[in-house]
């Protein structure tokens, strides 16, 4: 076989490879590129049907929009923060268990995924309402005397969102922690580190990529979250996604809704871009090898 023949074979192989991946490429086109392109296009259409920037102008001139974006970031940051505070210790605990027990815990963490998001959100509504389980128990136990308002406000929104987002933080954090060779901790101890110092100087730094990946995932998911804040916020916590819905349902203004969607998309991409400068995202999300 001569050189040109070999080169032709390689060329053919590449063509075949491209052919095999074309259905996937088509799918990405149809479900991603075209809708997003359409979103961009519609966001530049004014109320009279011609090209206009009025949808974006409104976002800058009206104060309420700024507040909505602020609320969105605030709720997302708080949710992420609480998820870290609850999820990291839990992931750490699981990573130290023998694999069989850890798998049981993992199933428990994943269990909520088997139930619909809507069901879980309404369940919280029932639990947290004025005469709900939580209030009744707390009063019976003497924790507080009067039913307190823990739903239809920021508290309820956060409780629901943390519950739903927690697995997204725990899974990558747990994965990163499991991958930490226990000999590192032994080596640290052997070199003179107390358990506490071994944790902070060795275990914690090695687990941060997983923690960061989880936190980023939670934050980005929160930015576009709709159902839980809509149900548990009781209209007091207005996030971007809810404004998009009201623009369409109440005002039938597709242009304004699309512009909001575009801004949210750009902001989310911006967050990811900034994050990628600090951490190798591919590695943190388990995409790349070590």
């Amino acid at each position: 076989m001569n050189a040109t023949g070999l080169r032709r074979d390689e060329h053919m192989e590449r063509l075949k490879l491209f052919g095999l991946s074309s259905p996937a490429l088509m799918l990405v086109m149809v479900i991603l590129v075209i809708p997003v392109g359409w979103l961009f296009y519609v966001s530049f259409i004014g109320a009279d049907g011609s090209f206009s920037l009025e949808n974006y102008e409104r976002m800058i001139t009206r104060k309420s929009y700024g507040r909505i974006f602020w609320t969105t970031f605030e709720v997302s940051l708080l949710t992420t923060g609480i998820c870290i505070l609850i999820g990291y210790p839990l992931a750490y605990f699981m990573s130290q268990l023998p694999p069989r027990l850890a798998n049981l815990c993992l199933i428990a963490v994943l269990l909520p995924f088997w139930t619909s998001l809507l069901v879980r959100t309404y369940a919280w509504l029932v639990l947290l309402q004025k005469n709900g389980l939580v209030n009744n128990w707390a009063i019976s136990l003497g924790l507080w005397d009067e039913p307190i308002k823990i739903v239809h406000n920021l508290n309820g929104t956060l409780i629901g969102m943390v519950h739903i987002m927690l697995p997204f933080l725990i899974l990558p954090a747990y994965g990163a922690m499991r991958a930490i060779d226990r000999d590192y901790i032994k080596a640290a101890a052997n070199l003179g580190a107390s358990p506490r110092r071994a944790f902070w100087t060795v275990f914690f730094p090695l687990s941060t990529p997983g923690l960061f990946a989880g936190a980023l995932m939670v934050f980005v998911l929160c930015l576009g979250f709709f159902v839980t804040p809509a149900v548990l916020g009781g209209g007091k916590v207005i996030m971007v996604s809810m404004k998009i819905v009201s623009n369409i349902e109440l005002f039938v203004n597709w242009g304004a809704a699309s512009a909001l969607g575009v801004v949210l998309l750009v902001l989310t991409a911006g967050v990811l871009w900034i994050a990628s400068r600090f951490v190798n995202l591919e590695r943190a999300t388990g995409g790349g090898g070590h």
């Binding site: 060779d181 000999d183 080596a187 101890a189 052997n190 070199l191 107390s194 071994a198 730094p205 090695l206």
Partner: protein, 364 residues
């Protein structure tokens, strides 16, 4: 060569009646062991023998069911690992991937709150000791296997522990590098003089490096001796079988004489007590007899079954009449290989009286 740490600073290790069970398995079965100060002692045994468990007891990572462990005069058995002040080189090196070489080697010093300029100086000195000067800024994943090995070593000696433990540190290296590192570790030990306990399953490594070797199996120490004693005069069949190659012939005791296949055995070696005895035959101690045998040779008639060329030596397999198959190893010089007997030929094998080692059975 400058002596940075004399043997006087090294600590002896005293292990007494240490037992560790996992379920019904005895990982360590009433082990007692004395490591002299400044000594290079190797724990040698097959996998699952308990040698690593014993090392982990010394390091403090495994808590035994009972027993005592002393470094010098201080009882250590309940001391947590971070207060034991022993250096350890792990099998996979366990270098922290989020720190540079300098960060790794300086880690034990930072824990001990050594002032910064002194840390830099001592790290540099430790790196120089393992011949890695100037590698301080490197990341761990930029190092080759041999370099990682040296960094791990530097990290374990930089805080000048008086005891150094090593868990199969060379097993991940290729053969050439392993051979070189064996010599380097040996020289480093002579230079630093710390009491060293080294774990390996590689008998050649153990024979090359150690002052003394403890052969471990079934959680017990089968024999503790110098490399030469261990090879020349094994105390039991396990050690004789595990170290080097050997074939065993049944020995009958008849008063003061020993009979092999009905013939009295000529030997200058001590005969152990007991009735169940074996003659140990090492391939390189057996020779082919041409012409008349020497007066203190034991002679065995045998039939050649195979002849193998191995470069520097040949290996000849022969069936002893009414006995097992034995291997004979000899050097190849000039045209000796061409003149060796071919399979099927009858030969006489000689074993000198000084090489006729009699072993008590048991231990297997």
């Amino acid at each position: 060569m400058t002596v940075t740490n004399t043997s006087a600073d090294a600590l002896p290790i005293t292990v007494r009646n240490v037992t560790k069970t996992y379920g019904r398995v005895h990982a360590l079965d009433n082990v007692s062991l004395d490591v002299k100060s400044g000594e290079f002692l190797t724990l040698l045994g097959p996998s699952g023998s308990g040698k690593t468990t014993l090392l982990m007891v010394l390091a403090g990572f495994t808590r035994p069911d009972q027993g005592s462990l002393k470094f010098g005069d201080a009882e250590m058995i309940r001391q947590p690992p971070h207060l034991r002040d022993v250096g350890m080189v792990f099998q996979n090196y366990a270098l922290f991937p989020h720190m540079t070489v300098e960060g790794n080697v300086g880690y034990p010093l930072r824990l001990r709150r050594v002032p910064k300029p002194e840390i830099a100086a001592r790290v540099e000195k430790a790196l120089a000791t393992v011949q890695l000067s100037g590698y301080g800024e490197r990341r761990i994943d930029q190092l080759s296997g041999g370099q990682k090995q040296r960094v791990a070593l530097a990290r374990s000696i930089v805080f000048e522990p008086r005891i150094l433990l090593m868990d199969e540190p060379l097993s991940a290296l290729d053969k050439k590098l392993r051979d070189r590192m064996q010599i380097e570790l040996r020289q480093l030990h002579e230079k630093l003089g710390m009491t060293t306990v080294y774990v390996t399953h590689d008998q050649r490594e153990a024979l090359t490096m150690s002052d003394r070797i403890a052969v471990v199996n079934f959680g017990r120490i089968m024999q503790l001796a110098t490399p030469q004693q261990l090879y020349d005069q094994p105390e039991n069949k396990f050690v004789a079988d595990f170290i080097g190659d050997s074939t065993f012939l049944d020995v009958q005791r008849d008063g003061d004489t020993c009979l092999v296949g009905g013939t009295p055995l000529k030997t200058t070696r001590p005969v152990p007590p007991g009735d169940s005895l074996s003659l140990m035959m090492r391939p390189e101690r057996i020779h082919l007899i041409e012409g008349a045998p020497a007066p203190d040779d034991n002679v065995f008639e045998a039939t050649v079954s195979d002849l193998v060329y191995q470069g520097e030596s040949f290996l000849l397999y022969a069936h002893i009449r009414n006995g097992p198959e034995v291997a004979v190893r000899g050097a190849i010089r000039g045209d000796t290989y061409g003149r060796l007997p071919k399979p099927g030929a009858t030969v006489r094998l000689g074993l000198h009286a000084a090489d006729a080692v009699i072993i008590a059975d048991g231990g297997l």
